[in-house]
């Protein structure tokens, strides 16, 4: 069912483990799905110097995690965020059609770990603008709707 490359990554997965004091952690999947991956990244000067993972899942899930960790290590944040599901499946020499969703999980878990790091960075702040009067989120140059109806204090 699986290609030789997938079986190789399944039998000898790279980068299994956790990173203590990781720069970012990304969890994806849940038992209902049948696959769960947790990715840990160490980021220094914008580069993923270390990537580790733990995976509960099938042959494809483990192989994908291993391949993603290998593809991401040493890359810049921007490069790592560009790693796509299709890239992973291609690097593995293809996955059976019903296992392609496993490749989605791997790339997504990596991205979540990176986003987790970016959100923790000092000065990251909240996404988007907020009304200075009622603190409601404000899109672009729209007048704050709640303030408009309530009137300025």
């Amino acid at each position: 069912m699986y290609s030789e490359k997938v079986m190789e990554h399944f039998r000898n997965p790279r980068n299994v483990g956790e990173i203590e004091n990781a720069s970012g952690v990304g969890e994806i999947g849940n038992p209902v799905c049948g696959d769960m991956m947790t990715f840990y990244v160490k980021i220094e000067n914008d580069i993923l110097t270390d990537v580790k993972f733990k995976t509960f899942g099938c042959g494809a899930a483990i192989a994908v995690s291993s391949m993603v960790s290998e593809m991401a290590k040493g890359k810049t944040i921007a490069e790592a965020m560009k790693i796509s599901n299709a890239d992973v499946a291609k690097e593995l020499g293809g996955l059976p059609p019903n296992k392609l969703h496993c490749s989605n999980l791997g790339a997504d878990a990596l991205h979540r770990a990176i986003e987790n790091y970016l959100a923790k960075k000092p000065g990251a702040g909240e996404k988007g603008c907020r009304c200075p009067f009622c603190d409601a989120p404000v899109e672009g140059s729209n007048i704050c709707a709640p303030c408009k109806t309530q009137g300025r204090k």
Binding site: F10, R11, P31, C33, P97, K99, H101
Partner: protein
């Protein structure tokens, strides 16, 4: 490397006697049983002789056996063929929640024809309570179907009692005997069933042949229409070789059933006793007191089924699993879920079905190989990591379900 085959539920090595019975019909006796010339004679005789042998296996009259090509076909014929003729009387069917997909899927397509169905729940061992069955029956119910033994967890139902419930309401009762035949004695007269499914594979016969027992007088609408074969119950030129193999296999299995079952039961007992001594956090599923011999179903916590299966395969051991990843439909076993197992545990299932040729050495090899495989997978598992830290590995975040981002449905299903 030893080769251990613990997946008899999927397929079994053909009995030598079955192979011998098949060969003439794959070579010089190629005639069509329906032919009026002499080329049809031996094929016709072979089918009728096989019918007698297969009937004897389950204590049925030969005329009450319909040959089909698979247990799935027999189930489709039973579910659709036994309910459609009664559509004007009622359009409700009752089945257990743990039936095989070849019983459940026909129900869904019958819904497009105006039928409805009720799934009777099972307890944590997979047993159907006769009172719950009675409660599910309505005035419009025209068919009840409960499998004799379950392929996933080995639990044997009290079919005699369940059939009696259906008969109290004058409703025909069908049972899928695929997982029971070849492991326990089956007497359809004693059980009281109106219809009963089983394939040749259950008795070490070939793929491509199966039977549907239909008690005399049971009204059935055929699925495959056209010719008059099988007394107009199933058209199509018969797979003579497969049927001949089925008959021969049935005869041998009938004679050796108690000996083979005793052997398989002892081997399974070894696993029940010794596996927990070598591996922690294993949970055996299905009834321990009421299960088919040679069947072990176990949840190995914190690791996923297909991953175990692949490593066991590397070690020369063939097994099966109820995890979603190991199923073509990517859904966790509905049997385990119906028994109340949480999803994460259903994903960790391993199913071993032994056969007549399974040995002590096979069991020893399995017991030696599984623990290091599990150890290795647990080291990789975020669930195990959580467990080791004292967190609940099975906790779902509020509202957590399978994310829509990755669609599990496959086009070719």
């Amino acid at each position: 490397m030893p080769s251990v085959y613990f997946d008899h539920a999927a397929a079994a090595r053909l009995l030598h006697e079955a192979r011998e019975a098949m060969l003439p019909f794959l070579t010089e006796e190629f005639g069509n049983p329906a032919s009026l010339h002499h080329f049809g004679n031996k094929p016709k005789e072979a089918i009728e002789a096989a019918r007698v042998q297969v009937a004897a296996l389950i204590n049925s009259r030969p005329d009450d056996i319909v040959f089909t090509a698979s247990a799935s076909e027999s189930n489709n014929l039973a579910i659709k063929g036994l309910s459609l003729p009664h559509k004007d009387k009622g359009t409700h069917i009752v089945v257990s929640a743990i039936e095989h997909v070849s019983v459940l899927e026909p129900l869904k397509s019958l819904c497009t024809l105006g039928f409805e169905y009720t799934l009777v729940p099972v307890d944590s061992e997979g047993m159907v309570d006769p009172h719950k069955l009675a409660a599910a029956i309505q005035t419009e119910t025209v068919l009840v179907s409960v499998m004799h033994a379950n392929y996933e967890v080995g639990t044997i139902q009290n079919i005699k009692e369940l059939a009696a419930v259906a008969h109290r309401y004058r409703i025909p009762f069908h049972s899928d005997g695929t997982a029971a035949v070849g492991r326990i004695p089956v007497d359809v007269a004693e059980l009281g069933v109106d219809a009963y499914t089983f394939p040749a594979m259950s008795v070490y016969g070939p793929k491509g042949a199966a039977a549907l027992y239909l008690k005399r007088g049971t009204r059935i609408q055929s699925l495959v229409e056209g010719g008059f074969q099988e007394k107009n119950r199933r058209a199509g030129t018969e797979d003579v070789a497969a049927i001949a193999g089925f008959g021969a296999a049935a005869a041998v299995t009938e004679a050796r059933l108690s000996e083979w079952s005793a052997t398989m039961a002892k081997l399974a007992q070894r696993i029940f006793k010794e596996l927990p001594q070598r591996l922690d956090h294993v949970i055996f599923t299905g009834s321990m007191s009421n299960r088919v011999p040679g069947h072990v179903s176990v949840v190995v916590e914190f690791v996923e089924g297909e991953a175990m299966l692949l490593f066991l395969d590397d070690a020369g051991i063939a097994t099966a699993s109820g995890s979603s990843c190991s199923s073509k439909t990517l859904k966790a076993s509905h049997v385990l879920l119906a028994m109340g197992l949480p999803h994460a545990k259903a994903q960790s299932s391993l199913v071993l079905t032994m056969g007549k040729d399974s040995t002590d050495a096979d069991v020893t090899h399995f017991l030696d190989k599984l623990p290091p495989i599990v150890e290795r997978l647990r080291q990789m598992s975020p669930l195990y990591a959580k467990f080791q830290k004292g967190e609940d590995p099975y906790a779902l975040k509020p509202g957590e379900t399978c994310e829509d981002e990755h669609e599990h449905e496959t086009k070719d299903e």
